[in-house]
C-alpha cells in the first residue's frame, strides 16, 4: 500500500496529503450536488403536481351535467399555454370515455389520444404527441345527474422541468467546483502550514552541518519531536564515536611513543654510521605515527554537532601556554581578534592548527609574534606573523609537503606545518605562506567561519 502510494507521489508529502484530501472532498462534494439536485427535482415535481391538481380542480368545478344529460364546462382555465398548439400543456374533459371538450393546444390531436394514453387514475408520466414526455393527472368522477363517469385530465410537459433541472445542475456544478477548488487551495495552504516545522528542521540540520549549531533545538511540535530526539541522539552518538576514536588514538600514541623514545636513546652508543641509519628510520616511524595519529584525531568538518568556536577563547589559551613555554624568551606574542570571530568546525582542530602555527612562529621569532583574525564574508581569515628569518620563496612549497623538516636544529619543527596543512585541507581551507612586514614568515589561513 505504502509503495503503491509512493509510486504515484514519489517525492511530495504535500501532493500525498492533497491527494488524500481530494479523495474524500471530491466525492463528498459530488454527493452533496447529487442530493441537492434530487431535492430540487422533488420540489419541482411537487410544484408541477400542485399546478396540475389546481387546473384539474378548476375544471371539475366548472363541469356540470345539463338537463339533457350532457357534460358542459361553464368556463375553461385561462392559462395561455392551453391555447398554444402542442405547447405540452393540455386539458381534456370526457364523459363515458368520449371526449367532450379539450384545450386548444391539443387541437389537431385526435380526440381521446390523451385519454387512451392515460388509463390510470392519478398522476402518470407518459409520452404524448411528438413523443414528448408529459406528466398527466387524470381523475374520474361521477357528477350529479350524470349517467356516465366524467374524466378530467390535465397534462404538462416534463421537458420544462428538465430544462429547469439542467439549469439548476449547471449552477450546482459551478458552485461545487468553486467550493472544491477553494477546499483544495485551503488544504494546500494548511498542509504548507502544517509541514513548516520540516523546513525549520532542515535549516537547523544545515546549521549543524555548517557548524553554526551544536544540536537541534527542542521547540518542535510533538509529531516531529521524536525525530528531533533521534537526530540529537545520533549527533551525540557520533560525538562519542569521535571521542572514543580520539581516546584510542591517544592510547595508541602512548603505546608507540615510549618504545620509540627508548630506541632512539639506545642507539646513541652505536657507531656513527649505523646510528645515523637507524636514527633516520626511527624518525621516519615517528613521523608516520605522528601523522596517522593526527589524521585520526582531526575531527574535520563533517563530524557535525560543533558549536561555533570562539577564537578569543583559544587566543587566551595559547597566549598563556606559549607564554609559559617560551617564558625565558620574553616574546611579544599578541593576538588581535575581531569581536565575534568564530570558526565553524571542531575546536580541537582549530587549537591544533593555531597551536602549531603560533608555536612555529614563537620558535623562529626574534622578539615579536602577531596573530590577527577576523571575518571576511563568511570566511575566517587568520594571519600569523613573526620577525624571525622567514622562509625563502623557493622553500615554501617543501615546507608544506609531507614530513619535510625545515630545520633539524630547532627541535620538533617541520612536522607541525604539514599537519596544519592537512587539517586546513580537510576544511577546504587554504594555507598561504608569504613574507611578513615584521621581517619573518607570514602564514595566512582561510577557514570556514561560523
Amino acid at each position: 500500500m505504502r509503495r503503491w502510494i509512493w509510486t504515484f507521489f514519489p517525492h511530495s508529502l504535500t501532493l500525498r496529503l492533497m491527494a488524500a484530501a481530494a479523495l474524500w472532498v471530491l466525492p463528498v462534494l459530488a454527493l452533496a450536488g447529487f442530493l441537492l439536485g434530487w431535492a430540487f427535482r422533488t420540489h419541482l415535481e411537487s410544484q408541477l403536481d400542485a399546478k396540475l391538481s389546481d387546473y384539474q380542480r378548476e375544471l371539475l368545478a366548472a363541469a356540470s351535467i345539463d338537463d339533457s344529460g350532457n357534460l358542459v364546462l361553464d368556463y375553461i382555465p385561462a392559462d395561455p399555454r392551453f391555447s398554444r398548439v402542442f405547447s405540452g400543456w393540455y386539458w381534456q374533459a370526457a364523459m363515458g370515455g368520449k371526449v367532450v371538450r379539450q384545450s386548444t393546444s391539443a387541437g389537431p390531436m385526435e380526440a381521446g389520444a390523451l385519454n387512451q394514453l392515460s388509463a390510470v387514475d392519478g398522476i402518470t408520466d407518459l409520452y404524448g404527441p411528438g413523443q414528448r414526455e408529459l406528466r398527466v393527472y387524470r381523475r374520474d368522477v361521477t357528477l350529479p345527474r350524470g349517467t356516465a363517469p366524467v374524466t378530467i385530465l390535465v397534462a404538462a410537459p416534463c421537458d420544462e422541468l428538465e430544462a429547469d433541472m439542467a439549469q439548476f445542475a449547471t449552477h450546482i456544478f459551478i458552485i461545487m467546483a468553486t467550493l472544491g477548488l477553494t477546499f483544495l487551495i485551503a488544504i494546500y495552504l494548511q498542509v504548507g502550514f502544517g509541514l513548516r516545522p520540516l523546513g525549520f528542521l532542515r535549516r537547523e540540520i544545515a546549521a549543524i552541518r555548517n557548524g553554526r549549531a551544536e544540536r537541534l533545538s527542542s521547540s518542535f511540535p510533538d509529531e516531529i519531536a521524536p525525530v528531533v530526539e533521534e537526530v540529537n541522539a545520533l549527533i551525540d552518538h557520533n560525538r562519542q564515536l569521535i571521542d572514543r576514536a580520539r581516546n584510542e588514538a591517544g592510547n595508541l600514541a602512548h603505546a608507540l611513543k615510549n618504545p620509540l623514545s627508548v630506541l632512539s636513546h639506545e642507539i646513541a652508543d652505536l657507531e656513527p654510521a649505523r646510528r645515523a641509519a637507524l636514527a633516520a628510520q626511527l624518525d621516519s616511524i615517528s613521523g608516520q605515527v605522528e601523522r596517522i595519529l593526527q589524521r585520526i584525531r582531526a575531527a574535520g568538518p563533517s563530524a557535525g554537532g560543533n558549536a561555533p568556536v570562539d577564537l578569543a577563547e583559544i587566543a587566551d589559551d595559547l597566549t598563556f601556554s606559549l607564554g609559559t613555554i617560551y617564558r625565558e624568551r620574553c616574546l611579544d606574542l599578541r593576538f588581535e581578534i575581531a569581536p565575534g570571530t568564530a570558526f565553524a568546525g571542531d575546536r580541537g582542530d582549530l587549537v591544533e592548527i593555531l597551536g602549531n602555527l603560533c608555536d612555529n612562529a614563537c620558535k623562529w621569532a626574534r622578539s615579536r609574534v602577531t596573530v590577527r583574525a577576523g571575518r571576511r564574508d563568511d570566511r575566517l581569515a587568520v594571519a600569523i606573523e613573526d620577525d624571525g628569518p622567514g622562509i625563502a620563496a623557493g622553500e615554501r612549497e617543501n615546507v608544506l609537503a609531507r614530513g619535510q623538516r625545515l630545520d633539524e636544529r630547532v627541535p620538533g619543527s617541520g612536522l607541525g606545518l604539514d599537519i596544519v596543512h592537512e587539517i586546513v585541507t580537510l576544511y577546504r581551507g587554504r594555507l598561504n605562506l608569504s613574507d611578513s612586514a615584521l621581517g619573518g614568515l607570514r602564514v595566512e589561513l582561510d577557514l570556514p567561519a561560523a
Binding site: 591517544g250 592510547n251 600514541a253 602512548h254 603505546a255 608507540l256 611513543k257 615510549n258 618504545p259 620509540l260 623514545s261 627508548v262 632512539s264 636513546h265 646513541a268 626511527l282 615517528s286 605522528e290 584525531r297 589559551d317 595559547l318 598563556f320 601556554s321 609559559t324 613555554i325 617564558r327 625565558e328 575546536r347 580541537g348 587549537v351 591544533e352 593555531l354 597551536g355 602549531n356 608555536d359 627541535p411 620538533g412
Partner: protein, 218 residues
C-alpha cells in the same frame, strides 16, 4: 639538585634516571600516580618530570592536586599526548613545560635545567661567583677557568650552593636536595662531603653557621 620522575614505563624511567644521574641530579622515581602524588607532596624536589597517562591517578589530576596544595616545584610534562588541546590543558593545570614523546634526552635535560634555573631566579646556564663558575649545561665547575673534577654528589652540592648563593642552607635541606629518597640521612655524611668540597674549591668558600647550616662565602 633533586628531580622526581613520575613515569609508568619502566624503560623510559630507567633511561631518564640514568641520563639525569649522569647530568648530576639526584633522582627519585614513581611508577604510578599514587606514588608520584605522594612523593611530590611530601618530599622537596627541584623539578618534577611527569607523565600524563599513569595508572591509578592520571598526571593532570596529580598536577592539579600539587598546585592546589601549594607545591610550586617546576613540573615538566613528558607525554605521548601531544595535541595542542592537551598541551593547553597541561599548562593550564600548572605545568611549566611540555615535551612530547618520542623525545630527545638532551632536550629533556636542557629543559629541566632551564626550569630549575628559572625557579631559582637564574637566567643563564652559567653562574659565576667569585673565582667559581658553574656550567649547568656541561655539569662542570670551574675555578679560575680550570675545571675541577668532582663526584656527582660533590657537583650536586656545589651547584645547589651556588644557585642558592647567599642563603644559609641547613643540613636537612642539603640531604633533601642532593640525595635521593633511599639515602639514610646521617648528618655526618654531609659534614664529610662539605669538608671534601672545601679541599677542592678552597678552604674559605663554604662557611659553617653553627646550628643553622652552611652558606657560600664568596
Amino acid at each position: 639538585m633533586r628531580v622526581l620522575i613520575v613515569e609508568d614505563d619502566s624503560e623510559i624511567q630507567r633511561l631518564l634516571a640514568t641520563a639525569l644521574t649522569s647530568a648530576g641530579y639526584a633522582i627519585d622515581c614513581a611508577g604510578d600516580g599514587e606514588d608520584g602524588l605522594h612523593l611530590g607532596m611530601t618530599e622537596s624536589y627541584d623539578a618534577i618530570i611527569l607523565d600524563l597517562g599513569l595508572p591509578q591517578i592520571d598526571g593532570l589530576s596529580i598536577l592539579e592536586r600539587w598546585r592546589k596544595d601549594g607545591v610550586t616545584t617546576p613540573v615538566l610534562i613528558l607525554t605521548a599526548r601531544d595535541s595542542w588541546t592537551e598541551k593547553v590543558k597541561g599548562l593550564r593545570a600548572g605545568a611549566d613545560d611540555y615535551v612530547a614523546k618520542p623525545f630527545q634526552m638532551e632536550e629533556v635535560i636542557a629543559r629541566i635545567e632551564a626550569l630549575i634555573r628559572r625557579a631559582k631566579g637564574i637566567t643563564s646556564s652559567v653562574v659565576s661567583i667569585g673565582p667559581l663558575t658553574l656550567d649547568t649545561a656541561q655539569s662542570m665547575v670551574f675555578r679560575d677557568g680550570h675545571p675541577i673534577t668532582m663526584t656527582p654528589l660533590e657537583y650536586r652540592l656545589t651547584a645547589y650552593l651556588m644557585m642558592r648563593r647567599g642563603a644559609v642552607i641547613s643540613k636537612t635541606e642539603i640531604t633533601e636536595h642532593i640525595y635521593d629518597q633511599n639515602f639514610d640521612c646521617d648528618s655526618n655524611v654531609v659534614e664529610v662531603l662539605i669538608n671534601r668540597l672545601r679541599k677542592k674549591l678552597g678552604p674559605d668558600t663554604i662557611e659553617t653557621r653553627r646550628g643553622h647550616g652552611y652558606v657560600l662565602a664568596l
